[in-house]
């Protein structure tokens, strides 16, 4: 295994970008800022990583921690300026035009979920993290991961089965 950080980190960049974009809905530019920040931190903390090969989880943990720190800072700041609303509160689906139409409603409904539920669902289903890994990344107990997962799935199911319409369905025939 190459010891040089670049070789080990490089492969995870697409995943980190996906995660960042998921967290910062509708703002790919800021998502890449977050990834850049994460990579810089990973390089400067390279010697502190746990040596069990869980590079994936380690990088995601740095990214998520960064995201929360930025979020809190921004919330404090926007308490003074009500007009500058935090971008992450904007339920927009970034990259909609690229996503196939069939997934548009799903992504919109997904974007309406609270951040905690979105992150758990994303890490577990899209990124295939184990429950334990997801718990570590998000810094919560495994039980919390499970209950967020269950609640997120149920909410998404209701949205999609029409029990509650998240957005005006412009392409309503999708299911």
């Amino acid at each position: 295994m190459p010891d040089h950080p670049a070789a080990q980190i490089e492969a995870h960049i697409p995943g980190l970008r996906r995660f960042a974009r998921q967290l910062l809905r509708g703002d790919p530019e800021r998502a890449d800022d977050l990834v850049q920040d994460t990579l810089e931190r990973a390089l400067s903390r390279w010697h502190l990583r746990r040596n069990d090969g869980d590079m994936h989880g380690w990088l995601y943990t740095i990214l998520y921690h960064r995201f929360l720190t930025d979020l809190h800072r921004e919330k404090r700041r926007s308490a003074h300026h009500r007009s500058t609303d935090v971008a992450v509160d904007r339920p927009e689906v970034e990259g909609e035009q690229e996503a196939a139409l069939i997934h548009r409603d799903l992504l919109r409904a997904f974007a309406e979920l609270p951040e905690e539920q979105r992150s758990v669902l994303f890490l577990v289903t899209v990124e295939d993290l184990s429950y334990g890994e997801a718990a570590r990344v998000l810094g919560v107990p495994i039980g919390t991961v499970m209950s967020r997962l269950s609640r997120g799935r149920e909410k998404l199911r209701r949205y999609l089965s029409g029990e509650r319409q998240p957005v005006k369905a412009q392409l309503g025939k999708v299911k």
């Binding site: 670049a6 980190i9 890449d32 400067s44 990259g95 899209v126 499970m146 998404l156 999609l160």
Partner: protein
């Protein structure tokens, strides 16, 4: 266990959807679902949802990785910064060697970018580090609070109190071995002092204070005690010792390399020993 499936919990239903159950439990959940069609229906919707989410995210075009996220570029940038710091430290050593007088501030001479606030902070931190060195380096019975025999505990404790992971530099290549460390009050928060000793009984301290803004590197000599200071990545670090300047600067380089590693080594100062 297989013939007596326990009650099925919500967690297991989730794990069933994600295919993360042991075969035993998957079977147990399977029989449970056979008896509970409404739950089975809900789970099959969850499973569809899972597939759809994977497909939806999979199809989203992420685009090529932008230049600013290229690791080669990020590493080169870090290397450049680190090279500048080492060059500054080397320059500080050289200036002192040439001038032979104390009180030089490399940053002030090297680059006019040094801002007054960070210079001020540097002065305060160095003064604190020197005072701490003078107080404890002469201690015979209690030079440290936690000794090197409990290094793991020392690291854990100081990291916790400083609020960031502390690296205890290994200076054995320069003949200094760790004696231990202590926690010190410093302004509004704590600082840590690590103490080293060589075979001749010379002591050297590494003073670390978090929450320091900006970048700086300074060498200062006060009577027979020399101090290297630098700040980077929010950390202020001072190496203090009454060793001769050569030994102190070699130790300072080791501390710097171990505090901010992560990059392939680059030989910046030709006279510097190669570090393995």
């Amino acid at each position: 266990m297989t013939d007596l499936p326990g009650p099925v919990g919500d967690d297991e239903l989730m794990a069933y959807v994600d295919g993360r159950l042991s075969p035993d439990r998957a079977e147990a959940v399977g029989s449970y679902l056979a008896a509970h069609p409404e739950i089975r229906e809900r789970l099959s919707q969850f499973a569809e949802q899972r597939q759809a989410l994977r497909a939806a995210f999979g199809e989203r075009a992420e685009g090529p990785i932008p230049t600013r996220l290229r690791l080669t570029r990020l590493i080169a940038e870090r290397q450049r910064r680190r090279g500048r710091r080492l060059a500054e430290i080397a320059a500080a050593i050289l200036l002192v060697a040439l001038g032979g007088i104390g009180g030089w501030t490399a940053r002030d001479l090297m680059s006019p970018r040094a801002s007054p606030p960070s210079a001020l902070a540097a002065g305060t931190i160095m003064a604190d580090a020197l005072a701490a060195h003078r107080t404890f380096a002469v201690e015979v019975r209690h030079p440290v609070e936690v000794d090197a025999a409990q290094e793991a505990h020392l690291v854990q404790w100081l990291s916790k109190r400083l609020g960031r992971p502390l690296v205890v530099p290994d200076l054995s290549a320069t003949g200094y071995r760790l004696m231990g460390g202590r926690l010190l009050p410093a302004g509004s928060g704590p600082a840590a002092q690590l103490m080293y000793e060589n075979g001749a009984g010379d002591r050297l301290t590494v003073y670390v204070r978090p929450g320091v803004a900006g970048e700086a590197s300074v060498y200062r000599q006060d009577k027979n005690v020399g101090a290297f200071y630098w700040a980077d990545e929010g950390l202020g670090c001072v190496i203090v010792g009454d060793a001769d300047r050569g030994a102190l600067s070699r130790a300072a380089e080791r501390v710097y390399e171990q505090t901010f590693p992560g990059m392939p080594k680059r030989n910046l100062a030709p006279q510097r020993e190669k570090n393995g």
